[in-house]
Amino acid sequence: MNKLATRGYSWLNKWLFSEKSILRLDARAGSLQCDEPSVNLCAQFAQIECQRAAPPVIEVCDIDISYGNNIALRGASLNVKAGAITALVGPSGCGKSSLLSVINRLSDLQPCRVSGRVLINGTDVLAPKTDVMMLRRQVGMVFQRPNPFPLSIVDNLRLPLREHGIRDGVGQNERIEKALRQVGLWEEINMRLNQSALQLSGGQQQRLCIARALVLEPQVLLLDEPCSALDPLSIAVIEKLIMRLRGQYTVLMVTHNLAQARRIADEVAVCWVSDGAGCIVEVGPTEKLFTAPKQRITAAYLNGHQG
């Protein structure tokens, strides 16, 4: 009996140790080595390191997307600058959202055919051997309508962490707090983290969804019209939040709101429908595109004459 107890204890010890070793692995990912006792400190350092991890460049090369016989996007090419905010604008049905969903391979879930290449820091994400889960961990996405999970606020953030193997409580809590602070929700809701996320207001829900993407510490953020379902005050908050992300993340954002694109984007890509298929007409720095566009369509669209 005694023997059994000691064996159980040593097994427990081993398990605890392996938990810590996972932690250390996390820290090493941030190119840091640290000792066992200062687990807390260690996680903090790892976070700082992660923040510094440079956001990547995204190169979209000659992407075709088709649903059955319908071509949604033809020959789209786009270079998304590292750490910048790039806005995709254009009328409905020109393949903006489809393009976005190719970048994190969410297009896999839809009955569409995709050809071409999407390179994130030189790695082709459309290659069949790409680890899609890992890709989606690095490329966060926020949708048009807030879609918090029907769980508590904290579980909305904890579930993705747990699913990606971050299981220790302290590390989880730190990441959760950090993500909520990043979106400015911490002060508002830290007293009611265990409430259902569905009780939050629309704007808060959307910020929670952004936090849910940020909690995995991605390098790229895809925003699919993140403000279109929100009231003006919430839109202002979210815009400010997106601008704060500049430099830390490569942000690609679809929007219908040209004024918004002009306010917050560094670069703008204009999509259009020609010959029954979506395409990218012109890409350039925001002000340049708004004031001195090269294409006639761009000028007409951005000045509100067409589209």
């Binding site: 961990r137 966060g140 879609n147 999970f149 029907p150 904290v154 699913e163 809590n173 830290n190």
Partner: protein
């Protein structure tokens, strides 16, 4: 102008008539249920006592109680659910989540629909031929439970698959965009969201299983003694009611009392299922209290 006003009055009258009619129909449905309940309680309530539940039937059910009948019923139900629930759950998950674009799925769904439409006497015949004879289980609670499992399987699968499919698409998208595994999404998001449907299917199945008479007459048998194992034959409540009413002169009172017990059992199992699903799936929010409260 004038005719327009008249028309409006006419349509208002029509509205009122239609509304009254609908109310009457609703009252009719309610009335039928109340009458049924009232009848059973009036006729059978007097016989209901602890000794009725705890004694063995005597004199072909004219005296004594229904202890052995209750035990047999519960045993058949447990066999039925413990077989049908895992198979049904697995099938529904496969149909709803993994079988897209597969032709096999269409066949599985079609055969389930057919199975749902098969009269219970035919399923009983199959159960008798397959479980009792071919597998050599004889008249036994096990054979009865398995036969019932075949019968409730389409109900369970149908309800649960519909529940899974009704989970809003944005939830799946959100989970996929976070790189959650399919299993994790299923376990933490989809199944909890489909839990009410699971419960509805379960309650429907239990109701159907408890009410079943024809299929059990020739699979689990109708002896009234206390079953000692699943290999024994036994008489379930519905068969007991049938037998008391049709074959036993003077057994009507106890038939009513047994029916009352059957209704009570159904309500109790519904409540239990509700509770179980609530504890299993809706505990998520409560479980995390006080993690952050230091």
């Amino acid at each position: 102008m004038h005719s327009g006003l008249a028309l409006r009055c006419d349509s208002r009258l029509l509205d009122r008539v239609a509304q009254t009619l609908l109310w009457l129909l609703a009252a009719l449905v309610c009335g039928v249920f109340c009458w049924l309940l009232f009848d059973i309680v009036i006729e059978g309530g007097a016989g209901l006592s602890w000794s009725f539940l705890s004694q063995l039937p005597e004199d072909a059910g004219r005296a004594g109680g229904i202890a052995s009948i209750l035990v047999a019923t519960l045993a058949v139900l447990v066999v039925c659910l413990s077989v049908a629930l895992p198979i049904g759950l697995g099938t529904a998950i496969w149909l709803a989540e993994y079988s897209d674009h597969l032709i096999v799925a269409r066949w599985v769904r079609r055969s389930l629909q057919l199975l749902a439409g098969v009269p219970s006497i035919v399923i009983g015949l199959f159960g008798y031929a397959f479980f009792c004879r071919a597998l050599g289980l004889g008249y036994s609670l096990l054979a009865g439970g398995l036969t019932l499992a075949c019968m409730v399987l389409p109900l369970l699968v149908g309800a649960l698959e519909a529940g899974l499919r009704a989970v809003p698409e944005p939830l799946r998208q959100g989970a996929a965009a976070l790189g959650l595994s399919q299993a994790g999404t299923l376990l933490h998001l989809l199944l909890p969201a489909a839990a009410p449907a699971l419960m509805a299917g379960l309650i429907l199945s239990v109701g159907r299983a408890l009410a079943e008479t024809a299929a059990l007459l020739f699979t689990s048998g109708y002896v009234t003694r206390m079953p000692e194992s699943l290999a024994d034959s036994g008489r379930v409540l519905s068969v007991h009611i049938f037998d008391l009413t049709m074959n036993v002169a003077g057994g009507d009172h106890y038939a009513y009392t047994t029916a009352l017990v059957l209704l009570g059992l159904l309500c109790a199992i519904n409540a239990l299922a509700r509770l179980a699903v609530g504890v299993l799936f809706n505990g998520n929010v409560r479980r995390n209290e006080q993690v952050f409260s230091q």
